[in-house]
Amino acid sequence: MSGLASAPLVRTDALAVGYGAAPVLSDVSFDLRAGERIGVLGPNGGGKTTLFRALLGELKPLGGALDLAARCGTVPQTERSRLDFPVSALDVALMGAIAGRPWWKHPGRAERRAAREALARVGLAELADRSFGELSGGQRQRVLVARALVQDARIVLLDEPFTGLDAVSIRRLEDLLDELAGEGRGVLIATHDVEQARAWDRVLCLNRRQVAFGPPAETLSLDVLAATYGGSIVTLPAVAGEGERLALLPPHHHDHEH
């Protein structure tokens, strides 16, 4: 394992990405190792989704280097059109098996078994035949994780997977991510929740460029958070059952209307 772990699954060096000539995200230099969970933090428009699109091969780097040791599996944000798609949870999981067979072939018995096993692993064995759009938000995220499992993706990207989930679903998905990392996969999770990211191995703070990268305890200082979110940070007093928490105030808008 240590021999494998020494080679990073993802490595970028001064990576710049954008949609036109001008990069919307630049100076990104980080690496993702096997068995690691990295939280990607940043404001809306800070470049989290753009980074993922570069890792998925949708955007070509405008500058710098991007090395991937494996193809990425992805758990994208829920789009309205996807909820209306005529597919079952099993159909979605089976999409992970397409690359493994000749283009003219249909999924065989072995692939169906693999897809059902992946759904069972994420706790959805009995909902395999339910329409994707009928599942709850947390269940949909787990179906997409199952798709990445069938694909046997060594790198898994999750774009804001916890948005809109209740506490039970959040815990369940967090456990699943721990399991994926435990198997030696590299997991990148875009999130808004700074406190949640403290539990992961490293954090990557983005605000149109890389602000900081490293273990959360050392990296998530007030200065870094302020530079990442561009607002002021206040410490909230401890409430029952929880310690002090940091909160971000939105940046001040200076209106000069008279």
Partner: protein
């Protein structure tokens, strides 16, 4: 009552409509699920100047129409492959230009005025063996491609961002779909014409979509509905002496409206009464916090 079907030219038209239903039924579902309805209308309209040219210069109409339609498909395919999503405005531009060029060619260059209506709205009762051979080829290709490439078309449509990671980001598969739609549009020209091609290619699939939740039943249902609408339109046009293409389009549109009405009525009935809906017309999307989602064992209930 059904003596219309005793006439050989009506029988021939019926064979044509049934073959086209096979092609349109399978491809129509992909058109709807991949959001290509406007493209399919555009590609059929783009074929119009090709038809006028063929008519005026005396070469095969199919060749003329398919030549122009193929050009259109490749252009759109190129733009799509470069990731410039949303080619609707381009489609609209080409559609209008094609119609305008076609009309100018027809009225001022070839003086083929009398034929223009046939080219725009089809002449189902005058199909010949070549039309039927083309319909056979297109139906066979549509079924074959659906069988072999369907999984890819579905996976890319479901989640384009994941396509590369899944190993399905091959522009070739998507281009095959665009070219097949172009071919199907050309095949339907003889039956319903350039302006009404969507009556066969899109409307039946969009209608059946409202009552099905999976690809296979949707595709089978669309083939049956397109065949039924085509047959009914053919019979009615014979009885009323109306143009068959337009009659099929009106019937297809009417049935779409009826199903849409029934579906929204069923949805409202469920919302007010909270009971299961008849006819399998349940709305497919359950929201996170709806009592319906929770009672089905959503996360919140555990």
């Amino acid at each position: 009552m059904f003596e219309a079907f005793d006439y050989p030219f009506v029988q021939r038209a019926l064979v044509e409509v049934l073959l086209l239903s096979l092609a349109a039924g399978t491809l129509g579902t992909w058109i709807v699920v991949r959001g290509l309805a406007f493209y399919s209308h555009g590609v059929a309209a783009a074929a119009f100047p090709g038809l006028v040219l063929a008519d005026g210069l005396g070469f095969s109409a199919t060749l003329g129409a398919f030549g122009v339609a193929l050009l259109f498909a490749l252009t759109v395919g190129q733009l799509a492959a470069r990731g410039r999503g949303g080619h609707d405005s381009l489609t609209a531009l080409v559609l209008v230009a094609a119609l305008a060029i076609g009309v100018v060619l027809a009225s001022d260059v070839f003086h083929s005025g009398a034929n223009v209506e046939t080219l725009l709205f089809g002449s189902l009762l005058a199909v010949d063996d070549a039309d039927i051979r083309l319909a056979i080829v297109v139906a066979a290709l549509a079924l074959l491609a659906t069988w072999t490439l369907g999984q890819r078309w579905l996976a890319v449509g479901f989640d384009p961002s994941a396509a590369r990671g899944l190993g399905v980001r091959s522009p070739a598969a998507d281009l095959v779909l665009l070219v097949l739609i172009a071919l199907a549009a050309v095949a339907t020209l003889s039956a319903v014409g350039a302006l009404l091609a969507t009556a066969l290619l899109v409307v039946p699939a969009a209608t059946v979509r409202m009552a099905t939740r999976r690809m296979l039943p949707w595709q089978l249902g669309t083939i049956v509905l397109a065949a039924a609408e085509g047959t009914a339109g053919l019979w009615l046009s014979f009885e009323t002496n109306a143009p068959p293409g337009a009659t099929i389009a009106v019937i297809a549109g009417g049935i779409f409206a009826l199903v849409a009405l029934a579906r929204s009525a069923a949805t409202m009935y469920t919302r007010t009464r909270g009971v299961a809906q008849p006819l399998g017309l349940r709305p497919r999307v359950a929201f996170e916090n709806s009592p319906e989602a929770r009672s089905r064992g959503g996360e919140g209930a555990r």
